[in-house]
């Protein structure tokens, strides 16, 4: 009796699995088959939806990719090294005092809807974004005033010396579309108009499924070779990788690390570990905002150094990050590597449990009651640190298991709490943690990330959290910050930034564990011309200015046919497999039935 019902259960399960597979392959055939002369579509798989197509409201990485494609900027950045190159502006001149720049736009510029793109659009975008403090513009435009001198020239004046100029990389919006929304609350505008000046413009957004961008015939470099780009969403990395491997999508962003490593051996897929300066850090509560209840031991620099010495960053990089990215112990402040200093050997905080124990012993943090956990000097509070981690990161668990194990070996105990990102933001703002593990991704200019660790950014009101999440700051750092922010000599500014990063490293309020990489992969059989930004180390997609898309060319003409053959082959294989499975099930049922007969 039991035997038979089991047989049926297995049969049903197997049939279900089979039907599921056939359906998946079926849809692959439908989307992969292309009639000659039809539209050329690049399909990119990713796991993060747009938060808003409205550039004054959204802030997610996926939305930046949309704007990078839809809106051209006055000055562009070279794909290789972020060098400033002409964009909508073909040339610019600086005044003697370096406070005023005059940009001349290219001739004959048009928006994707055919309207002329003029200096007035530029001036309107800069002035309105400054006045209304648009989140993705105001960091650049806060001190700027723009005046359209005529149809083609715009004059931009800054009220303070600004080393970032003449770079003018804010998205220029079409005034004729945005003037209306800007009269009210601009952030509530849906921004599905799809009017832009970049190589592709938004055609359709199906939240949770995909969004489609079509080639802009009026793009100033010419019409792209690809007709449309589809960004398809996957809820699970494994499904996305499967889609890439069987050709449903042409490229994938944010591939799970384990699968990324496995794909490295394939010859039809190229894997890219794209670095943009993003890093993962272990932060310790510096308690300088007066909020919260961090562990008093963390106020002691030697304890922070001991924690840093207890952590084997090499092993974390190899075993948790699977060696994807770079081993680096300093803040990543820019996608451009020139801003990374080398820490002198005698200041490095490398894995050295003996040194960690020595520092703690010397500081009087002794384990007097023999329970394996040290206490504050003179007894009293134990060195038990609250350790907060993110549930959203697949690396959190591995980092935690290793780090808490190593800390236990030097006599520091931990209490682990897991939070989602919103909860963790609240916990950090309230200062109710001792240690947390999270990360940052910088822009090209180092200024924004450096600003996060100034005293101005220490949260003093839980209701309005600021950026300085480790609650550490110093006058020396702040002075250097102001200096680099107005230093017009590039070499000197680089030196100042190096000093700041070294100072921050030596304070060990952040132990930078490693620099992460964007794990991406693309198929080699359909498109060529993938560009890494910056050259050699950066990602091909979701980079700072996303130059890949315009550069891609479809390979040959017969690629669609090959896809068909493969799908048909797989279908035959599946049907054959299905016949075998059904046969086996039938045999199984027959056998169990006959066995039952024998029993009865």
């Amino acid at each position: 009796m039991k035997g038979r019902s089991w047989g049926i259960a297995i049969a049903v399960a197997a049939l279900g699995a089979l039907i599921g597979t056939v359906q998946v392959t079926g849809s692959a055939t439908a989307s992969g088959a292309e009639a000659p002369g039809s539209t050329v579509t690049l399909t990119v798989g990713l796991q993060q939806d747009l938060d808003s197509p409205n550039v004054t409201a959204g802030y997610l990485v996926s939305s930046y990719e949309l704007w990078n494609l839809q809106y051209a900027t006055l000055t562009d950045k070279a794909a290789d090294d972020f060098a400033t190159i002409p964009g909508l502006a073909e040339e610019w001149t600086a005044s003697e005092d370096g406070l005023t720049y005059t940009y001349t736009r290219r001739d004959g510029l048009k928006w994707s809807d055919g309207e002329p793109l003029t200096a007035e659009d530029v001036a309107w975008t800069i002035n309105t974004s400054r006045d209304q403090e648009w989140i993705n513009h105001s960091a650049t435009t806060a001190n700027l005033t723009a005046t359209a001198l005529d149809d083609r020239t715009v004059e931009i004046t800054t009220s303070v010396p600004d080393p970032k100029l003449p770079i003018m990389d804010v998205y220029i919006l079409p005034k004729h579309i945005w003037e209306g929304p800007a009269a009210g609350d601009i952030t509530t505008y849906e921004a599905l108009d799809g009017v832009g000046s970049g190589p592709f413009t938004l055609q359709e957004w199906k939240p949770g499924q995909e969004w489609t961008m079509v080639a802009n015939p009026n793009y100033w470099k010419g019409r792209p070779a690809i007709d449309q780009v589809v960004f398809r969403l996957y809820t699970e990395g494994g499904a996305m990788v499967a889609a890439l491997e069987n050709g449903e999508i042409d490229a994938a962003h944010d591939v799970p690390a384990d699968l990324f490593v496995e794909m490295q051996g394939r010859d039809d897929i190229v894997t890219i570990a794209g670095e943009q300066g993003g890093f993962t850090e272990l932060a310790m509560n510096g308690m300088q905002g007066g909020l919260g209840d961090g562990h008093p031991a963390l106020l002691d620099l030697n304890v922070r150094h001991a924690v840093a010495h207890a952590i084997n960053r090499d092993e974390l990089f190899e075993r948790v990050a699977l060696s994807i990215g770079t081993q680096r112990d300093t803040l990543g402040v820019s996608a451009n590597t020139e801003w990374n200093p080398e820490i002198p050997e005698d200041q490095q905080l490398n894995y050295d449990p003996a040194a960690a124990n020595q520092l703690l012993d010397d500081g009087g943090y002794l384990d007097t009651d023999g329970d394996g956990v040290r206490e504050m000097p003179g007894g009293g509070q134990k060195l038990i640190f609250r350790y907060a981690e993110r549930s959203e990161s697949s690396q959190s668990a591995g980092i935690r298991e290793l780090v808490t194990g190593w800390l236990a070996e030097v006599g520091i105990s931990t209490e682990v709490s897991v939070y989602d990102d919103t909860q963790l933001t609240d916990v950090i703002a309230a200062g109710e943690y001792d240690i947390f593990v999270w990360g940052w991704t910088p822009f090209v200019d180092p200024d924004p990330l450096l600003s996060y660790f100034t005293c101005d950014q220490v949260t003093t009101d839980v209701e309005s959290p600021l950026y300085n999440d480790a609650n550490w700051c110093s006058d020396e750092y702040d002075a250097l910050y102001v200096e680099q922010n107005q230093e017009l000599d590039h070499a000197r500014r680089v030196d100042l930034v190096h000093q700041m990063i070294t100072l921050f490293h030596n304070e060990a309020t952040y132990v930078v564990l490693y620099h992460d990489a964007d794990t991406q992969a693309y198929r080699t059989d359909r498109f060529e011309g993938w560009l890494r930004q910056p050259a050699g180390v950066g990602p091909v997609l979701f980079s700072n200015t996303s130059p890949t898309y315009f550069n891609l060319r479809p390979i040959g003409a017969g690629s669609g046919g090959e896809d068909d053959d493969m799908s048909t082959g797989m279908l035959i294989l599946l049907i054959a497999g299905g016949v075998v499975v059904v046969g086996a099930i039938g045999y199984f049922i027959m056998r169990s039935r006959s066995r039952r007969d024998e029993k009865e």
């Binding site: 494994g238 499904a239 699968l259 194990g405």
Partner: protein, 268 residues
């Protein structure tokens, strides 16, 4: 019978695990030299995961957590269920109405979303999971016990005891409780697999205690390290099979117990 043997086997294994194995053996800081994602062989009976940790060891230690949560949550469920069911059934009247409306309210709120919300809001620990399961799954046993109490309290010997001047506590303790005990036992046995499955679900969703390894937690980690797509079946199949076996064994045993205790359920 086989189910009972299986259950006892699992429980014994869970109890003796700390004596025959060392928890530190699969702490990631000690597994750096082990092969990673290694298929099962003589050295590693069920293979290793991406950090080189033995899956067999995790499975044994995971049994402790899964069974502990299963039992503890069941105890909580039954205690709440018995208290409410007994009180409502015995006293009747407005007490019954109030308690049953509360029960109804708990009965209609969707179970899994509530459990997820509670587990997400509260601190992540084993006791939270136990509490979440207890809070969300007591209403059905309360209803069941109340209905039994309603029929028992109308029996003649209860009336006689009352006539002889027995107090309420005496009647409940001596006459009613013994008569609903078989029902409590059976429904407790059937509540264990539900508790284990709920623990597994919550842990798989990443809402379990991060510092303890449980079967659901193993499935979560297997998912996090893309074991299914990579074909590392030895990582997700053993906890899956273990959960299935334990749940099945409990269910079969619970049904059998029900039949023994309630002759009307026995088939010819």
């Amino acid at each position: 019978m086989a189910s009972l043997v299986l259950l006892i086997g699992f429980v014994i294994l869970a109890i003796i695990t700390p004596w025959i194995t060392d928890r530190a053996d699969f702490n990631a800081i000690n597994t750096g030299d082990n092969p990673t994602n290694h298929p099962p062989d003589g050295d590693y009976l069920l293979g290793t995961d991406r950090y080189g940790r033995s899956v067999a060891l995790q499975l044994m230690w995971g049994a402790r957590v899964s069974l502990f949560v299963g039992f503890a949550a069941t105890v909580l469920t039954i205690v709440i269920g018995v208290l409410i069911g007994l009180t409502a059934g015995f006293f009747g009247g407005w007490i019954d109405s109030v308690l049953m409306r509360i029960t109804d309210w708990f009965l209609v709120i969707p179970f899994l979303p509530t459990a997820i919300v509670l587990a997400a809001v509260l601190e992540r620990s084993l006791w939270t999971i136990v509490m979440v399961i207890g809070i969300t799954s007591w209403p059905s046993s309360a209803r069941l016990i109340r209905s039994q109490v309603l029929s028992v309290r109308e029996r003649l010997y209860v009336d006689r005891a009352r006539a002889l001047g027995a107090g309420r506590l005496h009647i409940v303790g001596r006459h009613i409780l013994p008569n609903v005990t078989p029902l409590i036992l059976a429904s407790a046995t059937l509540a264990v697999p539900i508790s284990i499955l709920t623990e597994t679900t919550l842990s798989f969703l990443g809402l379990g205690d991060p510092t303890e390894i449980s079967w659901g937690g193993m499935l979560d980690q297997a998912q996090q390290s893309s074991a299914v797509t990579s074909g590392h079946w030895w990582y997700y199949l053993p906890p899956g099979v273990a959960i299935m076996l334990v749940v099945l064994a409990f269910t079969i045993f619970g049904r059998a117990l029900e039949e023994v205790l309630d002759p009307r359920l026995r088939k010819r």
